[in-house]
């Protein structure tokens, strides 16, 4: 068994029937998913599966993580397990690729953190995460009627053209700002917490954007919303771009509370926390 490691997905409140719910699940590398529980106390469980040590040893992992296909496969497997369990109970997701030597080591970590885990699970209970992204799309705004360039000397025509483009851009960013304020208002009304993610740029974002409409992502936030407020929150969010040309608001979710697993101020090396 020494060639297997224990991959941990999440801490869960071990409600009745959870073991059965976990049993048919398949995790990373299609391995069966199990529940590691505390000795003598089955209130909390760590959702785990076994992975090949050769893939998850430090050096191998380092290389794998640079391989987008491998990363995607693991990320989707990780998410699949968490999403399935989130339908049954409150889930405290762990960061991708949290790996232990064996189940016993994982149990030690679970027991050592039980108070903190229980507190966080209580805080997240009955709430889900929604992602809200705002895009600015200056090219989507109908262009102002062009004045025949012949009426102007070339230099002035050029400058005027530039000014017009700039003014469309400014208008769109102002509109995006307005949409952002509406979303924030919806958040204050219905959500219990918010986390800002870095705006999505780069090749992974472009790959995602090429399928859908493009535009520049200017807001990428996550909101923690009580289940009974989700409809209201979403209704407000989906109307946030109403009447605003060149602005698109996209909601994703519901997600397990990934972005809220670590309480504010206890950042464990997140993007924000990593910067002084």
């Amino acid at each position: 068994m020494s060639d297997l490691l224990t991959y941990a997905y999440a801490v869960v409140r071990a409600v009745e029937g959870l073991q059965e719910a976990a049993a048919p699940l398949r995790g990373v590398a299609d391995a069966p998913v199990g529940l590691v529980t505390e000795a003598g106390d089955d209130q909390l469980g760590l959702v785990v599966s076994h992975v090949q040590a050769q893939d998850f040893r430090e050096d191998a992992l380092k290389q794998h993580l640079e391989d987008l296909e491998w990363l995607e496969a693991v990320a989707r497997a990780h998410h699949g397990v968490i999403e399935a369990l989130a339908e049954r109970t409150t889930v405290l997701p762990l960061r991708l690729a949290t790996v232990y030597l064996d189940d016993q080591r994982a149990r030690v970590v679970l027991e050592a953190g039980r108070t903190v885990f229980a507190e966080r699970l209580a805080r997240l209970s009955g709430q889900v995460e929604w992602g809200v992204k705002i895009y600015a799309e200056p090219s989507e705004v109908p262009a102002a009627p062009a004045v025949p360039a012949a009426d102007l000397p070339p230099g002035r025509a050029y400058l005027r053209n530039r000014r017009q483009q700039q003014s469309v851009r400014d208008t769109v960013y102002q509109a995006a700002q307005q949409a952002a304020e509406r979303v924030e208002t919806a958040g204050r009304k219905h959500a219990s917490d918010r986390v800002r993610h870095r705006v999505q740029q780069g090749f992974v974002a472009e790959a995602a954007g090429s399928a859908a409409r493009a535009g520049e992502n200017v807001v990428n936030d996550a909101y923690l919303v009580p289940l009974n407020r989700c409809d209201d929150f979403l209704a407000d969010v989906t109307h946030a771009a109403d009447g605003l040309d060149g602005v698109r608001v996209e909601a994703t979710g519901p997600w397990a509370p990934y972005s809220f697993a670590t309480p504010p101020g206890e950042s464990g090396g997140t993007a924000e926390g990593a910067l002084p």
Binding site: L5, A8, V11, P24, L25, R26, A53, F56, E58, L65, L71, A75, R76, H78, H79, G80, L94, R95, L96, T98, V99, Y100, L101, A106, V109, G113, E129, A136, Y173, Q177, A180, E181, E184, R194, V195, R196, R198, V199, Q200, Q201, G202, V204, A205, A207, A208, E216, N217, V218, V219, N220, A222, T252, Y258, S259, A261, T262, G268, G269, T270, A271
Partner: protein, 82 residues
């Protein structure tokens, strides 16, 4: 042992296919960071995370968005860290 209807595509498909970028936002910066086991606690895991994040967001590091919000929960300066 084996149920008549083993879990497969059919059971997993109802999940909507989430965008990888949205997933990575959450899995690489969200989630509880537990002190890993010997295997991963060799300090380098942080480097892995950092280099990985750099791979994904390198463009945004160098080209901060022209967008600056004046929302109440963030500063209105041009610092890309916001």
């Amino acid at each position: 042992m084996s149920t008549p209807d083993p879990p497969s595509e059919a059971e997993r498909l109802p999940q909507r296919q989430v965008a990888l970028i949205d997933l990575l936002d959450r899995l690489l910066t969200g989630g509880v960071v537990l002190t890993g086991d010997v295997v991963l606690s060799i300090a380098d895991i942080d480097l892995v995370r950092v280099s990985l994040r750099a791979l994904i967001v390198s463009i945004s590091e160098q080209n901060p968005s022209p967008w600056t919000s004046t929302g109440p929960l963030q500063g209105g300066d041009h610092d890309s860290r916001r």
